[in-house]
Assembly symmetry: C2
Homo-oligomer: 360 residues x 2
Amino acid sequence: MPAKVSNFYAGPAILPEPVLQQAARDLLNFQNLGMSLIEISHRSKEFTAVIEEAEALLRELLGVPQNYRVLFLQGGASSQFFMIPMNLLRKDQLASYLNTGVWSNKAIKEARLFGQVAVPWSDEANGFVRVPKDSEYTADPKSEYLYFVSNNTVFGTQFPVMPQSDLMLVADMSSDILSRPVDVSKFGIIYAGAQKNIGPAGVTVVIIREDLLDRASDSVPTMLKYKTHADNDSLFNTPCTFAVYCVGLVMRWLKEQGGVTEMERRSKKRSGILYEVIDSTDLYQGHAAKDSRSTMNVTFHLPSKELEEAFLREATAQGFVGLKGHRIAGGCRASIYNAFPLEGVEKLADFMRAFAKKHG
Amino acid sequence: MPAKVSNFYAGPAILPEPVLQQAARDLLNFQNLGMSLIEISHRSKEFTAVIEEAEALLRELLGVPQNYRVLFLQGGASSQFFMIPMNLLRKDQLASYLNTGVWSNKAIKEARLFGQVAVPWSDEANGFVRVPKDSEYTADPKSEYLYFVSNNTVFGTQFPVMPQSDLMLVADMSSDILSRPVDVSKFGIIYAGAQKNIGPAGVTVVIIREDLLDRASDSVPTMLKYKTHADNDSLFNTPCTFAVYCVGLVMRWLKEQGGVTEMERRSKKRSGILYEVIDSTDLYQGHAAKDSRSTMNVTFHLPSKELEEAFLREATAQGFVGLKGHRIAGGCRASIYNAFPLEGVEKLADFMRAFAKKHG
């Protein structure tokens, strides 16, 4: 086995090493049952314990109030783009969406299939370099909800604090959930695809306020009603048992490490090291405005395509993987989620400084 | 590690041992990359090779014609219940459904949300003990498609040969895909949740004729259009990379074992052994009519609840796991998919004979 590389993939992304070790053991023989964890029924008492623990730990770590349900769904965060308006919005009703990047844009497109959509703030014309302050927009008070993406994986921007609003908040937290404390009670729905901060691809966590479960019309297919999954504790049909199991392991690890407060401290430290390199050298230009910088995805450009290619080539050769930016944003991106070790960030910073000295 | 038990779960179900061994290794270090297979991007060249191989082998094993696409989707087979009519059926159009069990019933319910549904044959009144012959029903020739479930996991019935019809066939093959040859060219759509014959839970295989991709109306959400996934080679959004990877491993194993013809031979042999016990003792009563017996799920009752409980208790103690019938059908069920070893069936037959001698 080679030395671990530094895995900067944006998702699926790095996972804690103890989680992988445990999963590899349980793939062969789970709890000494003589069966793999992926060979047992989702209705077995063993799997019931797995999903219950995953939920309990997630609730504890995020401080999810009693009147919220936690669902483990399939279909990725992309399925929430339509499920949210399909469940919460009627043709003549309004929802407000803050447009801060690729994923909010996609969510807006799907919402328009179901109701009226207002976009009180968009940074599309500027290439999505920042997120708004509360004072920079006014959401129509008739809106059923105010939708936003807390961290924009593609462009490397993040709300430093969550928007404040009298409206019910709905948030895509796919790329920064569990990286900082959040007051869940301000939200109607928080959702996140697992493959950044929670586990492997294959499960999407949806935290939904109970009173919203009854909003869907009768014409919504059974599988697309949140109520279906809430009423059946996410076991209406067979979930992705492996992914749910891994979420449970990641939650255990997260708790052992000190929970979301500690994750916030680490993520600020990790990202701070990289932003310091960007700010203190001339070679790298950060994509995000300073007041909107993400602690999860650090995005930057080099002065030319040739230099970017050289940077990525040399980085790859030295074991830094996944630094190529999203195809829409271009440039470079270092994704540094909860499981990313500080040491890997320090090594990348050293490499960036050396590369800047050579090419600056 | 204890001796392997005999795993008769209906799904998630037993997988080939070499698949589990390989997956456990690759969970720690995939292709010597220094990363887990679940830590790499779904857009990496390594994962692209994984999904391409899984598709190529599946196409080869099932003989999928060139004008069909193979999609790896999330959401389980249950999501196909609504996706099929959502994509193929308009309000004023008709589809015909054969009602042979729990899953066809659920599919009928969802289809009614989108168009006109005819049920030319149903065995619901008799407790779903058999499937129809072609001569026993007439499907309205105006139907857009004729829908059926090739194998009914809950009740243990199976179409011994696929229905013949001038109508386009659409089939849920979740529990017997790749267990026998099939002429794909007769079908518009074949789909199957992975967790019985194909891999772990988390991916649903959809085989769809290309000309059907354009049928969805503009009001269908992007993620629910088959065309979205076909146009993006199942990578429009992040798929369940682990499950897709496992499907590839299972396909490799299946090919090495001799493909679907060999699977058919084995499944007839395995199920034949259990049906022989049922027919030659007085204690066990098969649920399915003899002409509709499943080679994948052998369902049977004992004369009393007490005896059934004693049977399940003693079986469990001897290492036979998952023999309890589905909660709707009751009784007992031995699910014996492709990966189930003949030896385990022989051991169960011995146990059943001994139990019958003691209690008969």
